[in-house]
């Protein structure tokens, strides 16, 4: 059969921000924002422990924002809340990427935080790490920082999840580019 030319059916976006964005730096006096959802109780437990750990480092405040329905009037309300939330914090910790759509929305909200100029970390479980990075790249920011928690996570009991939160906190700090020693001194 003769060869010929066909038209490429795909599209691609050329823009990509490969930078991870600004480091969190010293945490003392800053406001940390943690984005939670209504899906993962394990993420609620971990974010509560991380909030306490942040407070021990002398942060000014830890704020939470819960993502719910993202369509219709409810979605409009969420968009407004997200904008207000991002405007009220200095650093964003966004999770949890632990399923398909929730990874999509975790990355979506992380990209919004990063676009607002905030030091931003998306939090994913191991099974969804590559997916989160792929979605971030296709969203135009392959440099997005992603902190990875073990998987499966939400199926574990609280006594098994709490140690994961403590174990991962120093690693989260490293992913954020937080100045741990400076933060500790400031807290002292």
């Amino acid at each position: 059969m003769a060869k010929g030319f066909v038209l490429d059916p795909t599209t691609a976006r050329a823009d990509d921000i490969t930078s991870p964005g600004p480091d969190a730096g010293p945490l003392a006096g800053k406001t940390i924002g943690i984005r939670v959802d209504q899906m993962w109780r394990a993420w609620d437990w971990i974010s509560e422990i991380w909030a306490d750990e942040f407070r021990k480092l002398g942060v000014a405040d830890v704020k939470f924002w819960r993502s719910c329905g993202r369509s219709g009037e409810e979605g409009e309300k969420m968009d407004k809340e997200l904008k207000a939330f991002l405007a009220s914090i200095d650093i964003a910790v966004v999770g949890l990427a632990n399923c398909g759509s929730c990874t999509g929305w975790t990355v979506h909200d992380s990209l919004a935080a990063a676009a607002a100029g905030l030091p931003t970390v998306a939090v994913a479980t191991a099974n969804f790490e590559e997916f989160a990075k792929t979605i971030a790249k296709r969203g135009g920011r392959s440099g997005l920082r992603v902190h990875v928690l073990p998987y499966p996570l939400n199926e574990r009991f609280r006594e098994d999840v709490d140690p994961v939160a403590y174990e991962h906190f120093p690693r989260l700090m490293a992913t954020m580019g937080a100045a741990m020693e400076t933060s500790k001194k400031a807290a002292a």
Binding site: V6, L7, R13, C68, R70, S71, G72, C99, C102
Partner: protein, 378 residues
């Protein structure tokens, strides 16, 4: 949290107008090359091209028609649409979905040129932020956008609405549905295992569900007219999780048929009962025999929706305790001790279609917060 009712958003995001070149000469007679897609050299034998396309990640595994310039230009010329017109930005890629890209994928799918207005309307519908394609194209769920068609275009395109309308009827519907799926893959960037985490997938992720309403046998106004006031050609897109068949060999009265359908639609593991999802819709297909019986007693479709809704509920104390606990914490257990599949009766989407053998209804559960969209086909 409490019961979250469904209302459409007020802000609508539309693709920005974009004009690449002057349109003075028109798309048919212009000497400017309107087709902007890169040309790729390929073997044009269908089997060889399909293998080539699969290597490129363009295909779904079924044979593909090579989208040669001749085929693409012919398809376009029969529609008088400008190929550079941006219809939408589809997530997760958010790159431009132009008429040209829709046509190339439609050619590959084997869809007829006459289906372009339907495909454009469907792309516009799924791109509405309320449709929540961002989550749908990424999810672990099995969801795929379904297309429910109203108007004379059902006859012109041969969209099935009688026997086997959800699959199996020989028609152009599978190719048209497949075109929308290829657009999701090649334009939106939804690729299984890469950007789509669907645990099981669904046959509808190959060819969609492309079904007409048997308007001539329906005792109620057509779906698009009821939803959006559109009389004539229209498409309603619905995030469908798969088809559920409901057999009823015992009911006689309208309320009995609807009770059987409603109760069957209410199962604990559907998205509408998940604490992770604040609201859902549900689609119910009623066959023309039952529709006639029901319509005589219930000429108002809202009465039908109300009976279906009331029955599509579960007693909270029947649910597994963690499940029940989370719903309770969210304030979703009502005063009657029940949890309802959808927030309100209006969220039950009813359409008449199917064969004259009766006996069966079909239910399609929706995906999370995806809100059904209806668009005129122009």
């Amino acid at each position: 949290m409490s019961i979250v009712t469904i209302a459409p958003s007020h802000t609508k995001v539309q693709a920005p107008p974009k004009q690449l070149v002057s349109r003075d000469c028109g798309p048919d007679g212009c000497e400017i090359d309107w087709l902007a897609s890169p040309r790729r050299e390929a073997d044009l034998d269908i089997a060889n091209f399909t293998a080539f396309a699969m290597e490129q990640g363009w295909g779904d595994g079924l044979p593909l028609v090579p989208p040669t310039e001749t085929r693409v230009r012919t398809f376009l010329s029969l529609n008088h649409r400008y190929p550079d017109e941006v219809i939408a930005h589809l997530p997760p890629m958010r790159a431009e979905c132009t008429v040209e890209k829709i046509v190339i994928n439609a050619v590959m799918a084997g869809a007829p040129p006459e289906s372009l207005p339907l495909l454009i309307a469907a792309v516009e519908a799924v791109a509405d932020p309320d449709f929540e394609l961002y989550g749908m194209n990424a999810t672990t769920a099995s969801v795929a956008p379904a297309m429910f068609i109203n108007g004379p275009i059902r006859h012109r395109l041969g969209i099935p609405f009688k026997h086997g309308c959800f699959g199996g009827a020989a028609s152009s519907a599978a190719a048209i549905g497949r075109a929308l799926r290829l657009i999701m893959r090649n334009v939106a960037g939804q690729v299984v295992g890469v950007t789509s985490q669907s645990t099981f997938g669904s046959p509808a992720r190959i060819s969609s569900l492309c079904v007409g309403e048997w308007e001539e046998r329906s005792p109620w106004a057509p779906l698009a007219e009821r939803r959006a006031g559109i009389k004539g050609d229209a498409v309603t897109t619905f995030g469908g999780m798969g088809t559920m068949n409901i057999l009823d060999t015992t009911s006689q009265k309208p309320a009995e048929f609807l009770e059987m359908i409603g109760k069957s639609a209410a199962y604990a593991g559907t998205n509408g009962f998940s604490p992770a999802v604040p609201f859902c819709e549900v689609f119910v297909a009623i066959n023309p025999i039952c529709a006639e019986i029901i319509g005589k007693e219930m000429p108002d479709i809202e009465d039908v929706q109300a009976v279906l809704w009331r029955n599509a509920s579960l007693p909270a104390d029947w649910l597994e305790h963690l499940h029940r606990g989370q719903l309770e914490d969210q304030g979703r257990i009502r005063a009657d001790g029940r949890v309802y599949l959808t927030p309100e009766p209006k969220d039950v989407v009813v359409m008449v279609c199917g064969g004259t053998g009766g006996l069966h209804a079909a239910v399609v559960h929706s995906f999370g917060t995806s809100l059904t969209q209806t668009r005129a086909i122009v």
